[in-house]
Symmetry: C2
Subunit: 406 residues, 2 copies
């Protein structure tokens, strides 16, 4: 790129909802997504919830012609679900797994098993270095009483920190993904404020798609309608964010979303709507934005708000750590009591009475089960407490740094 | 720093062996370490195995006068054990937890519970930006048959990748820690080659301390002598590594180690020897080293060697995933058989015979226990397989990039 030349970049982002055995009409939809991507020839495709590596391999084989470069990020039991297809060579990759991601015993939610992460790929186009991030944060299952808010905030903070620390040599930073946060939620304000990333929807010159840019809408036949009752238009939780560092500017010329069905088809690509952005990147004399995206006194308020929520989560985790620890101790005491009773019986102290072998063994097994389970949970909540404390401490440091700035 | 001015930096690194209830004379040693650090007034202190946050807080209180800035990295059940004390303000921090770190059921080794990580702090001294990393990799328990080698190699690779991706704005990179690798091991060659970091011991103009720079020596009263039998001089596994990017050079003027006892005392600071480096940092016209530290054809050999070892680990993990999965299926079958037998008994099919309640319940509990355990282990080894595959894939990409370079 020389002089005033402008680079146009078309980006596609979609949470594909491709869970093996669970997602409806998965294979058909993955095929539809592949067909559309081949037709549309985007520059960069950021996908989430591609849980099956087979689906990724199928897409890769199908898209090899127009997107010769791709990367699948492996993590967790099932995988991270994150992958990237690119028209340009991928120079390097890195994966950062969030330190907190729900609870293993919340089987019905399952987030813990996914090893939620942020993936980074580095791409150079016309001499411009792009750091492209793709991520998927913990889902929100109940907005009124969101037990996962502290975990999602830790993830948003770690995402922001990871981007800040790894993007220092980049000319342009792009982030796409399902953030599971509404545009005004504290987590997204924190992410935007702390990294300086801009929201493509808010900045777009032209917009076409669902009202308010929603990406989870009642009009989509796969969404759970009851969950969207308080939001008649739907909610916006999938984003493309960007910023330019050094001497570049990025402008979002156009933003589009799908609107409930795949063009010309009777089913949508996913339960989420796809987000498609056309960005114009231009070399400039001076960097467009400062490093931080929000005015600093406002940013301090956002960090304080986030820190308060993390503190709420910390106290809940401490209570759980305590109660699981107490449960483990009680189970151990029961076992010791039983051992004493068994020894007593063996020594013939209660020779006259028959020893209740069956109920005794059942009780012992129950106690062992409770002991193991409670110990496991205690260890888990100990890790949770440590990570929440760590994040709170980091946020405290960030606040001090913000306040000390001239 | 202007013109030809040289910045002198004194760095202290020690694996403190401060495990609560387990390490001998822990409190006394932590106090000795604190006294010495206060006396010696280093610029940067990188500590590992400070497992108790209380020990960190005690050190912080004791050292506040001469090291006003410090950070403790929290992770895992016990903590990461990593902390940094600094004479200069810490601008920012980041923690990266390694994706593999041994096995939770290897209780006698315990590494899994420590959440082994690399911690990064960013410090500016006289206008020079330092990225300071502190880490502790998985221990080696049996050199002849090192079952943890693939995990340690994944950690060395993730460490190298983390340093490469986060240090792009830094002028000087410093890494201190217990790498649990001998100087010629493939992991350290990989780390040095892939990051361009230099070994302070190998580069030092003056050296004073244990022969060959060993940091685990038979002369230390806390080391396990039998483990060191094949190495009469001891082994060198604690390192200070460095490199300069942009227009700076770093020279190691002096490297010292302790030699088995704390100066003037009858006990050592730890079972490891401390490493102390005096570095001279100088602004220059051109950057001293290229980004990669080893000639590229040699580096390709190192990456290939590491990848082969990761592949060995991958096949072992796949075998374990298979056998734990089979065990879970067998336990499930046994449970189903039992359920059928119980239903049969209830339906009166075996009315003539007494139903063996006790042995039946014991067997059922055993089967449930085996099922839960085998499922847990199967999930764990599934994650292990994914991460080993991910690393192998990344190394393959790196090799391709090395081969494609002109």
């Amino acid at each position: 790129m020389e002089g005033d030349l402008t680079l146009q970049l078309r980006i596609f982002d979609l949470n594909c909802w491709a869970i093996r055995y669970l997602s409806k009409r998965r294979q058909e939809r993955v095929q539809l997504i592949g067909d559309m991507l081949r037709r549309e020839r985007f520059d960069l495709v950021l996908l989430q919830e591609v849980w099956s590596e087979q689906d990724y391999s199928d897409l890769k084989a199908r898209l090899g012609g127009c997107y010769p470069f791709s990367h699948y990020f492996r993590s967790g039991v099932i995988g991270s679900g994150l992958c990237i297809f690119s028209r340009f060579p991928i120079l390097d990759t890195l994966l950062y797994q969030y330190s907190l991601n729900g609870y293993p015993y919340m089987l019905q939610h399952g987030d813990w098993f996914c090893g939620k992460s942020v993936g980074l790929v580095i791409i150079k186009i016309s001499g411009i270095l792009f750091n492209v991030y793709v991520t998927h944060l913990h889902a929100e299952y109940c907005r009124e009483k969101d037990a996962y808010l502290p975990h999602r905030l830790v993830q948003a903070w770690e995402l922001a920190q990871f981007i800040r620390h790894t993007s220092k040599a980049a000319d342009v930073v792009l982030l796409g993904g399902d953030l599971n946060m509404h545009p005004e939620d504290v987590g997204i304000r924190l992410l935007r404020g702390w990294t300086g990333l801009r929201d493509a929807f808010a900045e777009a010159t032209r917009f076409e798609g669902c009202e308010d840019g929603c990406t989870l809408i009642p009009n989509n036949c796969f969404t759970v309608k009851t969950e969207l009752l308080p939001f008649p238009l739907g909610i916006r939780i999938d984003y493309i964010l960007y910023k330019a560092i050094s001497s570049f500017t990025v402008k979002c010329e156009e933003l589009k979303t799908t609107t409930g069905t795949a063009p010309g088809m009777d089913i949508p690509f996913s339960d989420h709507e796809a987000v498609m952005a056309t960005l114009h990147i231009r070399r400039q004399g001076q960097a467009a934005g400062a490093t931080l995206g929000t005015a600093e006194p406002m940013l301090a308020d956002v960090v304080t708000e986030a820190r308060t929520e993390v503190g709420v989560g910390l106290r809940a985790a401490q209570r759980q750590r305590y109660s699981t620890g107490r449960m483990a101790v009680l189970a151990l005491l029961l076992l010791l009591l039983q051992a004493a009773a068994a020894l007593g019986a063996l020594a013939g102290l209660a020779a006259g009475q028959p020893f209740p072998k069956l109920s005794f063994s059942l009780l012992a097994f129950l106690a062992i089960g409770v002991l193991l389970l409670a110990t496991g949970l205690h260890l888990f909540h100990t890790i949770e407490v440590k990570m929440l404390q760590g994040t709170e401490e980091q946020m405290r440091m960030a606040l001090r740094a913000l306040q000390e700035r001239p």
